[in-house]
Each structure stands twice: as structure tokens, then as C-alpha cells.
Symmetry: D2
Subunit: 261 residues, 4 copies
């Protein structure tokens, strides 16, 4: 059974900015989706901000295994209801790949619990993305490093939690470094942040970048059944305790009462 990936894109700069449109005439999402389809295991569709519910109604998210997220200038326009829906699906087990300026998306900030801030410079300088965890499945086929001739610099400190794994670290011509490939788990969901992808350069047309995206989708895919009640805190009644015990001492809750939230 194929992995069902949805590529979400803000899809604004491709319409407003001639440079970006020249690089991604159908939008960044279509370029990425096409790259994912080159993987026999992945079935990729797209969604964008201007669609009803931003193209992410509950029924569609329920059938999404891995969501890829590209946004930049309109993070604030993403509806909080949709954001919470995405966050809860991640907790239930949906994979999430956050791309480039998505570091400031509402969903990523919610899932990290940290500012997700960084330093930046748009100078078209050179970036070298080093595979520091070279045997990690996301780095398969990458070799030592990816050279991106024109990039936007993203510099440390990057205010995210210490990751589960640091897969890539980037070098920039102007003198900075950045942890450009990081893995996390939140609830049952796996998250991968990947820094390259500024829209004024043809980064998602790069064959090795496309390999990373395909690897990441496969890595983030959790075949387990969605954990529907992952956010619930069920009571374990005294008579259902694994070991036989008897109730003692004071109490707040009447028998069978729900816990507080």
C-alpha cells in the first residue's frame, strides 16, 4: 500500500513574484509532489492556502500519512482550527516534513514549544549541506554533502529543542552554520525539519534534495493505526488495576467521574 503524502504550499509568491513563478510555474507544491511520485511507494497530492479549509479538511487529513509544509509570508493567515487539526493528526501518528521558512509556521511552533527563531540573509550565497549522520535513512544516497549554489542563509542559534537526531548541518559562504536537518517525535508522529528551499532559487529541482524529500517521507511514515485518543487521560478504575489493590486515604473524585483538564 502506497504512502499517502500531501504537499501543502502557501502558493503566493509563485503568483506574485516573477522570479519565483519562473522557477515554479505550477507552484512549489507541484514540483515537490512530482519528485515524490518518482518514488514507487509514495502517492502524492497537493493542497494550498486558498482552498476551502486550506485544502486540509478533517476527512482528508485522516487519510494522509505524511504532510509536507511550505509557507513563508502568510503564516498568520492559516486558520487556527486547521493548525490544531494538523497538530492533532501528528500526535495520532501522521508524519510531518517542515520545509525551509516553515520553521515559523504555526504548526511547527506549536509542536516544538519553542520560538523556532533563527538569523537569515538573502544573498544567493553558496550552502553546503553536510550529512553528519550519514547512515541515517533520510541521508541515504546523499553522499558527503549537497552543494546548493544559491541559497538563503539560515543561521544559528536556531531556537528549537535539542533534536532526537541531527541529520544535516549546513555551511554558508557568508560564515554561518545551521542545523538544517533535524528529527523529532511528538505523540505518535515523526517530524523532520529540512532547511533548504528558498523560493527564489531552484532548490527543489535539485536531484539530491528530491532524494532527501523522498527519504524523509518514507522515514516519517508510521504504519501503526492512528492513535485516536492520544490526548485523552483515561481513569484506570481501582478494580481494573493490573495488581489487586484497595482504595485508601482521601479522595477528590466520585466513582467513575472524569478527570479534570
Amino acid at each position: 500500500m502506497p504512502i499517502r503524502a500531501v504537499v501543502w504550499n502557501e502558493f503566493i509568491h509563485e503568483r506574485e513574484n516573477e522570479t519565483v513563478r519562473g522557477i515554479y510555474p505550477d507552484g512549489i507544491h507541484e514540483t515537490i509532489a512530482a519528485a515524490l511520485r518518482d518514488d514507487g511507494q509514495i502517492e502524492a497530492s497537493t493542497a494550498s492556502l486558498d482552498q476551502p479549509e486550506h485544502g486540509l479538511p478533517a476527512e482528508r487529513l485522516a487519510e494522509t500519512d505524511v504532510l509536507l509544509w511550505w509557507g513563508h509570508k502568510a503564516h498568520g493567515a492559516v486558520d487556527d482550527t486547521v493548525v490544531e487539526r494538523v497538530v492533532e493528526r501528528v500526535w495520532q501518528g501522521m508524519g510531518l516534513i517542515v520545509l525551509h521558512s516553515g520553521h515559523f509556521s504555526k504548526a511547527f511552533k506549536r509542536l516544538m514549544g519553542s520560538p523556532c527563531s533563527l538569523r537569515w540573509r538573502e544573498a544567493g550565497e553558496r550552502e553546503r549541506v553536510w550529512a553528519i549522520n550519514r547512515s541515517h535513512p533520510i541521508a541515504a544516497g546523499v553522499g558527503d554533502s549537497i552543494t546548493i549554489e544559491n541559497t538563503e542563509m539560515y543561521g544559528e542559534p536556531f531556537l528549537v529543542p535539542e533534536p532526537m537526531e541531527t541529520v544535516f548541518v549546513s555551511w554558508y559562504q557568508g560564515g554561518e552554520v545551521f542545523r538544517s536537518g533535524l528529527t523529532y517525535q511528538r505523540g505518535a508522529g515523526r517530524i523532520f525539519y529540512f532547511a533548504p528551499g528558498h523560493e527564489t532559487y531552484p532548490i527543489y529541482h535539485d536531484a539530491t534534495v528530491q532524494t532527501v524529500l523522498r527519504n524523509a517521507v518514507r522515514w516519517a511514515y508510521n504504519p501503526a493505526k492512528p492513535w485516536a485518543d492520544v490526548a485523552q487521560a483515561p481513569n484506570v478504575p481501582v478494580d481494573k488495576a493490573p495488581e489487586k489493590i484497595e482504595k485508601r486515604g482521601g479522595s477528590l473524585h466520585a466513582k467513575g467521574e472524569e478527570g479534570f483538564r
Copy 2:
């Protein structure tokens, strides 16, 4: 210079429930604050839900080094503005000690980015809190384990991110286990979650539990100057790049323009 700790308490059950009032006549916060004051280095004050801005106006938080949080039935009543203020102060470097049912507090859930759910049972059963990282500063003076004769069971799975360090793991008479002492960093702030503390049992009167709280405050204290702009993403202008570079390629931003959020 002493560490300035503030003990925040919902302070409802002590007024509504006779059992709880009998154990904490002045409120859980006053018992904890008194315990912290036994440490020569800590200067402890208190705050509660019913005070203006829940006792946590911006000026006070700005002068708080470590905040301890106890809440249970009224998480929803905590104003979102105050929650965001607490979260931002943690990012800037304030320590945060989250106690017991505070696992479901708005601030903790915001900082974890995960559901923070668990299983529970109020049966007054026995808990053994094992110091699994026995040499950690938070476990100093604890010995092998703390026995809590009457406790509320908190059971795994506990839906928090993989911690920086697992300091305590609890055993319960009824058959469950729980990671009851966990450390995290978010932004510049250190966070410690400590599970024991159900209000119907005199847990914060226990001498060793008090030792843990004092240790935790000292551990969470970050003497660095608050990182005021921790959530900002400043541009590094091309002519301020550490290494001399020249601008190339396409661009989105006019010179000196702010980045998107």
C-alpha cells in the same frame, strides 16, 4: 544573590475540600514556599489564580528566576495572556518546575508541543520514586528511592517528548510505572516535571520531596541575562556577513526589510 522563586497555585481545592484543607491549611503554595526557604540560596514567594493577572504581571515575572506551577481543576481558567507570558519568560531563561497535575496546564502543554496525557487512579496506593539518574543534581540527597505511602497513580504512556534526562521513574502498587522526573530545555529555559503531589495526601510535607524541589529550583536557575529577543529572527545584512560575500540571484525582500512571520 538569592534565586527568586515564585510558587504558583490554583488554590481551589484547599478552600473547597475539607481533606485538602486539613493537609494544606494555607494552601499547597505556602507549604512549598516554606520548604524552599529552608534553602539558604532561595527566596520564595507565592501567587495564585484568584489574584489580578493570577499574581503574575509582567513586571513580577521579569524578576522571577524560577516558577513552580501547581494546578489541577482550573487549567482552563488560566488566562491565555498569562500563559503566553510564562512561556516567553521560559524561552528567555526563566526556570519552570511543573508539579503533578500541572502536566495538563496550558503552559506545560505549550512548551512540550505534545498532548501530555497519561493514565490515572486515585486509590491512595503506594508509590516508589526511583532515582534512576542518581548522580543528577536534582536527585542529590535522595538516595535510591522515595517511598510515598499514599499517592495518585500516574501511568504510562505519558505523551511528552523524549526528555533531555530521565531523573526519576515511579513504581505503583497497582502495577503501573511512570517517568516521574523529566528535564527539558525550551529556548534558554530549563524545565523539570515532577509527578508526585496529589492534593489529598501530604506529599509536599515529605522531607525528601522537599529536597527534590529545592534541588530542582537550583538546577533550573539560569544565571544568564534574560534573552529578551529570543523569538526574533533578525536579518544579517549582506555587508555584515562574517565573511565577505556579494549578493547574487533573485530576491523577495527589499533592502533592510523585515522578514515574514
Copy 3:
């Protein structure tokens, strides 16, 4: 292509102790190998201490994807040459599943860099193995917990490094807890430690324990080409630097000279 697993067993107690022989007449290794073969993807063979090179000559290890290790009373009898061979194959990408008393095996101690000590008691008491990272691939199909009616107690503190992931935590009838399922990466190799498996009880006949072992083999398998020179520290000559630079300042090494070790 199947995953090539080798189950290594000390294979002493099954010959010397009647109780153990009654449970594992062909040895623990054969019971585990049979369980692995129930997985269509795994091709399992066995090796033991008494064979030449303990059944692990270099050529065989080179064709092993995942090694499972069970040892107890004869850790000291394992030849250091074979231990180093195993360790290097892990660094190159071979998966390693360390079982029960294997916590004190030479290879595991070498790979952890820590004492790997713990507390223990052989009382046939009950163990509950809680899946605390329930969505982890190693916990697939396990449910909330595994009940092992008779077990050897392994108690914290367990002197291993903070793991990449804590998958299982065990509860014991006698009052202790233990992190009983832990993941690590060393070099390109993935390591899983799994505590249950005392030889005087029929633990590896348990269907859910067998599920864990199959899951673990699949998880530990790294399809990447072995990283043959993982322990080498190659010089990058000045004229091969990714960015053009010129040699400056003092030097220790003549051109083309090897680095020190």
C-alpha cells in the same frame, strides 16, 4: 531480500542446568531463531560460544545484518578479537539486539562506554513491561504492556547512557522499576537492549516477546552499504578543500602524511 539475522548464545546453562534444559532443550538461540523465522522478512541462523571463533568469523559477520546476543555466565570467555569484530561491524551498520544478561557482555559495555550495571533478584516474581513509546515500531502489536509471570528482577539505576528512545519500562512485583527497552546508535549501527529473558523461565516462548524480537530485528536493520572505513580519519588535502583556500601558518604534518592515532 531477507534480513540476515544471527542469534548468538553462550549455550551453557541449557547443558548444565536441568531447569533451563527443560525450557530450551535446543538452546535459547534455537527458540529465538524459530521465532524470527515466523517473520517472512527474516532469515535466521545461530552461533554459540563453543564454535570456532564463537561462530562469528569475519566472513560471517560481514554477511550478518542483525546480531542478537544472549550471554550470562561466560562473558569473560568471549575472545576480545571477536568482541572487537562485533563492535566494528556495529559501527559499520550491523544492527545489534542485546538480550537480558547481555547487559554485561563485553560488546555491549564497549558500545555503551558505561558500566552497564544494575540491581537484580531471582525470585520468579511478576514483571509488567510497559510500552511507554507505544507508537514505536519495536512496540508494534504489543498493546499497553506485556505481563511476564515469572521473571528475574533487574532494577535501576541501570548505568547506561541516556538512550535515543525509551521504548519499554518494567514494573516488578517486588517494588523496583527498570528501563527494559532502550535504543541507541553507534557509528552506523542501531542497538536495542531488551531486558526480559532470564533462562530459568520460558520468556522467549511468549508470543508477544517474540513479536518484540521480530520488530527489533526489522528496526535495527540498516539497508545502507556497510561503512567500511567508519573508524578512519582521512586527511582532506588543501587542494581538495570544498572551498578554495591557501595554506597558512605552522604545521606538524608533511604533505600527504597520515594523521596520528
Copy 4:
């Protein structure tokens, strides 16, 4: 009470190589020890390879709180007995600061359990050491980054386990990156690896590098009583179990017998 630090140095290049002698006429160890003494809390002494037991007899190590290690060409000449002694003291709680080429020292490789390999180039190029965890105590007073005008390049992949914390990441003029400041815990001991320090450049004379070293010593210091039996695996007799249990089922060990190793 002051922190008792010992700076260990191979002390060969300062005698054999004129460039190195010019920079460190009394040896790297004396320069570092002098820098540590500028911290009112640290009492620093030195030891070197050519001394009896390399200057590290058991009695001295027993009174050492933090050991700093600089070695390069003579790792193989360090006696295995002394190495094991150092490793065991770390497990008991001694801090260890491993400097530069010490990545290939026997003690560091033992404690990491991984190859500790990397790429290198001695070209006197520029290094920028970025403080990526800027609020970490080891980075106090460092600011954004340290510029080292002439350095030896150390490049990723660096084959060490995923660290507890990544404090520094370095940028090199020639195009590489390196995780140059990493923290670990092994047993009760804290370990900090710090990459800068090639002997043909005056790196340990840099004021900010000296600040890092002082910070690191204070961070690595564990005030807890040494954990003397950290590597032991004591039996917990059935009648000493925290909860009352009775022995059941088969057994390997006679009553009171030691466990196997």
C-alpha cells in the same frame, strides 16, 4: 571549596617542534592551567605522559574533580591501566574535558563506544565557533561566536553518539562544518568535548577560548560523593525486596551467591 582540576598533556610536540615550543614554551598544559587559575573557584595542576603513571596515580585521580585531556601523536603510548583508571573515575563522577585531537584518545573512545573518527586538514584556515545553545553555562560570556583565525579543520561526519547537548558548531573557511562542543554523561560523570586547540596555532591563548574552558570545568564538576561501586551489580535478596514477595520458580543462583560478570 575549590574545584580541583588536573590538566593532562602529552607534552611531546612542545619539545620536538619549534613552532609549537614558540607558542607554548612551558607546554599546552601550563597555559591552560594558568587560564583555569584565573577563575577564583578552580585550583589547577598539571600532569604529563612522561611522569610515572603518566602523572595520574590512583590517589591523585581520587582527588581530582575535573580532568582535562590533551593528546595527539602518542595516544597509543598511554598505558591501558591508566586509561581504565580514568574511565572508572569518570563513571564515579569525575568530570572530563576532552580537547581537540583528544577525540582519538583511548579514554574518550572508551567512553563514547564509537569510532570518534572525523576528517581533518591542517591549513591554518579560519574557524568560526558558533554558540548554538547560547544560554548553556559552557557558552556563558562567549557571545554569538568565537573567531579563530588559524585552525586545523575538523570535519563531519564526527563518529560520536548523538550528544546530550550540542553547544558549539564550527564553520571552516575551506567549506566544512563540525560539532565542536558536545556534552555527554557516562555513569555519574559529565564529559565535554571541545574541538579547537591545534598545537601549531596559539588557540589556548585566546581569551574567549579560556572562558569556555573555565565554564566547562565548572559545568563538569559533580559535587556528589564519588559513586565508588558504580560498576557493581548487587543482588537484592528476596527478603530485602521493597515489597514483600516469595521466591517462586526455577533458579540458577544459590542463596547469597554473587551474580555472573
